[in-house]
Each structure stands twice: as structure tokens, then as C-alpha cells.
């Protein structure tokens, strides 16, 4: 028997899903819209993709964003992994102190972090550029990476590493043969999340970017003032497609793992 409540929650769920995905569908549709006014349909075209390919300023911003996201996500994931491994070796009391410190940036408004970081860079006479941008994004993304990796590392049976040692591994071999493969999923998840956060970041970028390192969100934001053109939609569509491909790739690997029951690591 379906109660009235079931019906209501079912429709609510549909509404939420629609709310999440309608904007994406709209972006894709409008990227093929043959009109300068974004929200009015005037026939199919691919000319925005052509204009996007010629818009060097936008493409430069895309390249900067991709570089920054790549570097900061990799750094954040690496630091998160080292933090997790280091904290597993700490006494519980120090572990609590350390993890508190690691997660604190999560509850500090980003604008405060941005202002503070700008002051730090200023006092160090560090010129703003790619380095400051990456470091700024690292401050934002590291807590997320640490959160994911610490959780996964904490869930590992500590006997696994001991078993590897017992079976002849030195510390490095135990890490490479046992700990790292078991954390691979978490590392991938952390990296993707950090990449996304960094790629879409606007607040921290505002404070830490320099001349020639305008990120994509900053560029798009500044375009708002002069008027958005539908080539933004084309860019958005390409990014959605890119994301979709990544998810598909990761998902397929997951599926293979489930179907084959654990993957053989090549020796």
C-alpha cells in the first residue's frame, strides 16, 4: 500500500533530481542555440564552439584553471596521504589535536583564509602567480582530501601492514604492495573532489591570482560585467562531457573490479 506520504516524498525526490540536473541540460541545449540572447531558442548551430576555439583569453583561463586544479589536487592528495600515515603512528591524544588542526580550515570562511593568505604572501614579498594560486587552493582542498583519506586509512586493519612486514616487506614494500592499493579508491576520490573544488573556486582565486594567471571562474565572472556570450555554454557543455567521461572511466573500472573480484596487480 502506498501512503500519501510515500507519494509526496517520491515527487519530492523527483523534484530534487530535476533541480540538480535541469541546469546541466539547459547549458547543453543552449550551447547549440543560434541566438546571442542565451535564453531564447532560435535554431540549431555549432558556431559557439567555433568562437570558443578562437577565444584565446577564455582558453588561457581554462588552461590556468586546469593547471592549478591538477597541481593543487595532486598536492592535497599527497599531503592527505602523508597526514593519514603519520597520524596513524601518533598517540591518540596527539592524533586528535592534529586532526583538529587539519580540519579547522573547513569551518573558517574562505574569504578570511583568502585575506589572511594575501597578507602572508605580501609580508613575504611573494609575487602573486601560479605558485600562490596553487598554495591558496591547497589550503582550501587539503581538509577535504585529508577527510577522505584519513577515513579510509583509519578503516584499514592495522594488522594488514604488520602482516606484510611479517611476510618479508620492508616499510616501503608494505606501503607499495598493501597500503597504497587498498587506499587507491580513496585517493582517486580525494583527487577528483579536490580537482573539482579547485577548478570551480572563485573566492581564494580572487586573492591569490596574479597577472596572467586568471582562472576560468574569474574570467567568466568578469565577463558578466560586459555580457555573457553563449560560448560560455559551449565551454560548460564540454566540461560536462569531460566530467562525464571521467566518471564513466572510473565507474567502468569499479565495475570490472566487482565483476572479476579484485584486480591482479601486475608484478
Amino acid at each position: 500500500m502506498k501512503s500519501a506520504l510515500d507519494t509526496v516524498t517520491a515527487w519530492l525526490a523527483r523534484g530534487v533530481i530535476a533541480f540538480l540536473y535541469v541546469p546541466i541540460v539547459v547549458v547543453v541545449v543552449l550551447s547549440f542555440n543560434d541566438s546571442d540572447i542565451t535564453y531564447k531558442w532560435a535554431g540549431f548551430t555549432t558556431r559557439w564552439y567555433g568562437e570558443l576555439a578562437r577565444d584565446t583569453e577564455l582558453l588561457d583561463a581554462l588552461r590556468v584553471s586546469a593547471e592549478v586544479a591538477l597541481l593543487s589536487a595532486t598536492l592535497a592528495t599527497g599531503c592527505g596521504l602523508l597526514a593519514a600515515m603519520g597520524m596513524a603512528r601518533l598517540r591518540p591524544r596527539w592524533r586528535a589535536v592534529f586532526s583538529g588542526g587539519l580540519f579547522l580550515p573547513l569551518v573558517i570562511p574562505e574569504i578570511v583564509l583568502g585575506v589572511a593568505l594575501l597578507s602572508v604572501f605580501g609580508s613575504l614579498h611573494a609575487g602573486l602567480g601560479l605558485t600562490t594560486l596553487v598554495l591558496g587552493h591547497l589550503v582550501v582542498t587539503l581538509p577535504y582530501a585529508a577527510l577522505i583519506i584519513l577515513g579510509a586509512h583509519g578503516a584499514l586493519d592495522p594488522a594488514l601492514e604488520e602482516a606484510a612486514t611479517d611476510l618479508g616487506c620492508n616499510t616501503w614494500q608494505a606501503f607499495r604492495r598493501v597500503t597504497l592499493p587498498l587506499l587507491r579508491q580513496a585517493l582517486l576520490a580525494a583527487w577528483l573532489l579536490c580537482f573539482t573544488i579547485s577548478f570551480g573556486n572563485i573566492v581564494m582565486s580572487t586573492f591569490t591570482n596574479g597577472v596572467g594567471t586568471t582562472t576560468l571562474p574569474l574570467r567568466v565572472y568578469s565577463l558578466l560585467k560586459v555580457g555573457l556570450t553563449p560560448e560560455i555554454n559551449a565551454l560548460g557543455t564540454l566540461l560536462v562531457l569531460f566530467t562525464f567521461l571521467i566518471i564513466l572511466g572510473v565507474g567502468l573500472r569499479q565495475m570490472r573490479r566487482v565483476l572479476l573480484g579484485g584486480d591482479r596487480t601486475p608484478q
Binding site: 604488520e162 602482516a163 606484510a164 611479517d166 611476510l167 592499493p181 573480484g261 579484485g262 596487480t265
Partner: protein
């Protein structure tokens, strides 16, 4: 298995084989508290040895010092006559069976078992055959391609055993090996582990809190309490001739009469003098007399007790039916409790709440120091 490249000292005696493990005055302190204190112990080659004690007695810490996961605060460890204190675990010629099995979830059964050979760079061509033999040893032929996650608890343990034995260590340490198995499987595995140990000729050292496990499997048992080893002996000796009150109480069941030793026995206040077996304690010493329930006979009258033994009047408080035996809870004249147990033909219908007689052969009781 590669031999430890540690500085090898010459074994103490060339004639007798060096003990598999020799612990000398070993201790481990965590902060100000000692988990293990002053343990000196030899474990012989090809022996099934158990370290038995209640939880928190230091048995796990002691084992971890043998494996090298813990470094002793004092004392020395020798493995096969070679000094091993401070040698890291991966350079010791031993393996461990973890309580949680610690199978690598990202590897198949085959890769779990092959792990040590691959790490230690055995010739690639020798590995498949060795894995097949190891799996056959634990009766898991054909399980190589399975994922670890799909195995039952008993199968996981077998894989763990195969993985631990494939490198033919001289010593296998087993941490509560049967703790995670259900009752029936446990009884089966007790016999199987024992059989396996004889087959492979490897020294087994198990750590357990389960006395039945220790008694059925072991050649010798070390009983531990409070970080110290109280007695090292064969299962029979541990049970029949416990060295301390703790051992008598922890292994099996004992009831104790406490009093002062005299020439004709143990003088217990309110009970008179109870005959005792031969002992090494001086006259006048405070002592306990330990009596096992299965050695105590209960009868309606004193003259129906076996002749020549102790005979004490007692009040029957309760009878408990245990299936294979019946247990009688008795109170003696001094108010102390005494347990008796009878099985098979020895069982008697006795009136609860009334006076009965309890007796035993003094030779089947044991005098223990205060």
C-alpha cells in the same frame, strides 16, 4: 625464506639443538607500567607451545616481542640460537597468523598465498607449484582464483595458514587462532592445527585465553598472569600439578581450603585438620589445599565414601546438571564452598539443603603456597 642477515652468533651448544625461541629476562614497559616483566623461557624446536592467560596478562605483548613488532625494554630474544633483539620483523625467520587473519583484500587467494615468495624474490617459475602445495596442505585446492571477501571464516583462516607457512618459517606464531570460529569448527581446527604442526615440522607458538584450546593442542603450556610466566609445563602437569593458586584456579576448576600446615595435615579453622599429600612447604606455613571437583565424591553417609580418604560433613546447596556430569555445590562446616562433580554411574540423587559427606583421596589434592 631468506635467513636473517643479522650478525649471527654461534649457537650456545653444538650438541643439543638451539631452542626455537629463547627469552632471557625479557620485559616490556608502556610508560611506567610493565605489560611483561622478567620472563625467561625456552621454546623447543618443533614444539607446539601455548602461552595461556587471561586478557591483559601480557601474552600478546610477549608474542609481539618474539615477532619483532615490539622491542623489549629489557632482556634478550634469541631465535634458533641467533640473537634477534632489535632485528626487524621482515628479517626474522618466522611468520604470524593474525587473529583477524589480515588477508589482503585487494588480492586473490592465490596472490595472498604467493605474497611472501614474490616479496622475497623467489624464482617466478617455482611460485605456482608452491602455492598449489600450500593450498593443498590446508585442503583448499582450486581456491586460488577466489576473492578473499567471498570466503567463510574457516576458509579465511586456512588461507592465512597457507600464506604463513609457504615460506617454510622455522616458527609460526598464532594469535588466538580459534577465537573467531564457532564452537564446532573450533574443535575441528584444534585437531587440525595439531596435525598440521606435526606434518610440517614447524614450531608453533599459540597465544590463547582458552584453556581447553591450550590443553588439547599443546606439547607445553606457559601460564601467564600480570605480565609474568607462572608455570611452564605439559598440559597434564599444568592440570594435575599446578604450581600456584592462580594456575589451579585458571586451568580447570578448583576449590581451595586455606589454613596452616602441620605434621598431620592442613589445620583449617572451623574444620579441623585435613590430610594433605606430600609437599615441599615448611610446617607452620600458610597454605591452600586445591581440590578438583571431579576428584571429590559426595555421599549420603561417611561410610559410603571410598575408604582411606578425607571425609568431611557438608551441606548440599545446589546441584547443577551439566549434561556429561552433575555438579554439586557444597558448604563445609567452616562456611567455605566446595565443588564436587560426578559423571555417569557416579551420579547420585542427593537431597538439596541437607547434610551429606564429601571426600577425596589426599593424593589427588595439592598443597600450594599462600
Amino acid at each position: 625464506m631468506t635467513s636473517a642477515p643479522a650478525p649471527a652468533s654461534v649457537p650456545a651448544s653444538a650438541a643439543a639443538p638451539a631452542p626455537a625461541v629463547r627469552l632471557t629476562g625479557i620485559g616490556k614497559a608502556f610508560g611506567p607500567a610493565y605489560a611483561v616483566k622478567d620472563v625467561t623461557l625456552d621454546i623447543r624446536q618443533n614444539e607446539f607451545f601455548s602461552i595461556l592467560g587471561p586478557s591483559g596478562c601480557g601474552k600478546t605483548t610477549l608474542m609481539r616481542m618474539i615477532t619483532g613488532f615490539e622491542t623489549p625494554s629489557e632482556g634478550t630474544v634469541e631465535l634458533g640460537g641467533v640473537h634477534a633483539t632489535g632485528v626487524p620483523p621482515h628479517k626474522r625467520d618466522l611468520n604470524m597468523l593474525f587473529q583477524s587473519y589480515a588477508l589482503f583484500p585487494h588480492l586473490s587467494v592465490y596472490d595472498n598465498v604467493a605474497f611472501e615468495l614474490k616479496v622475497r624474490k623467489h624464482p617466478r617459475s617455482a611460485i605456482p607449484g608452491a602455492v598449489r602445495d600450500a593450498l593443498a596442505l590446508v585442503r583448499l585446492d582450486g581456491y586460488g582464483d577466489r576473492a578473499v571477501a567471498g570466503l567463510s571464516g574457516g576458509q579465511k583462516q586456512r588461507v592465512a595458514i597457507a600464506r604463513a607457512l609457504i615460506g617454510r618459517p622455522s616458527l609460526l606464531l598464532l594469535d588466538e587462532p580459534l577465537g573467531a570460529l564457532d564452537q564446532k569448527l573450533r574443535a575441528e581446527m584444534q585437531l587440525e592445527l595439531k596435525k598440521l604442526q606435526r606434518e610440517v615440522g614447524v614450531t608453533f607458538v599459540t597465544v590463547t585465553h582458552d584453556q581447553e584450546e591450550a590443553l588439547t593442542m599443546s606439547d607445553r603450556i606457559a601460564v601467564m598472569d600480570g605480565g609474568r610466566v607462572l608455570q611452564v609445563d605439559t598440559p597434564e602437569a599444568i592440570y594435575e600439578r599446578p604450581a600456584t593458586r592462580f594456575v589451579a584456579d585458571f586451568i580447570g576448576t578448583s576449590t581451595f581450603l586455606t589454613g596452616r600446615l602441620g605434621t598431620d595435615g592442613l589445620a583449617v579453622a572451623g574444620l579441623g585438620t585435613v590430610p594433605v599429600p606430600g609437599h615441599a612447604l615448611p610446617d607452620g606455613a600458610q597454605a591452600h589445599l586445591a581440590v578438583r571437583p571431579e576428584n571429590v565424591t559426595v555421599a549420603r553417609t561417611a561410610d559410603t565414601l571410598p575408604p582411606g580418604g578425607v571425609a568431611l560433613p557438608a551441606t548440599l546447596q545446589q546441584t547443577v546438571y551439566l549434561g556429561n556430569a552433575t555438579r554439586y555445590h557444597l558448604t563445609l562446616a567452616d562456611g567455605s564452598e566446595l565443588l564436587a562433580e560426578a559423571g555417569g554411574a557416579g551420579r547420585a540423587e542427593l537431597p538439596v539443603g541437607e547434610q551429606v559427606w564429601a571426600g577425596w583421596d589426599p593424593e589427588r589434592s595439592r598443597v600450594l603456597a599462600e
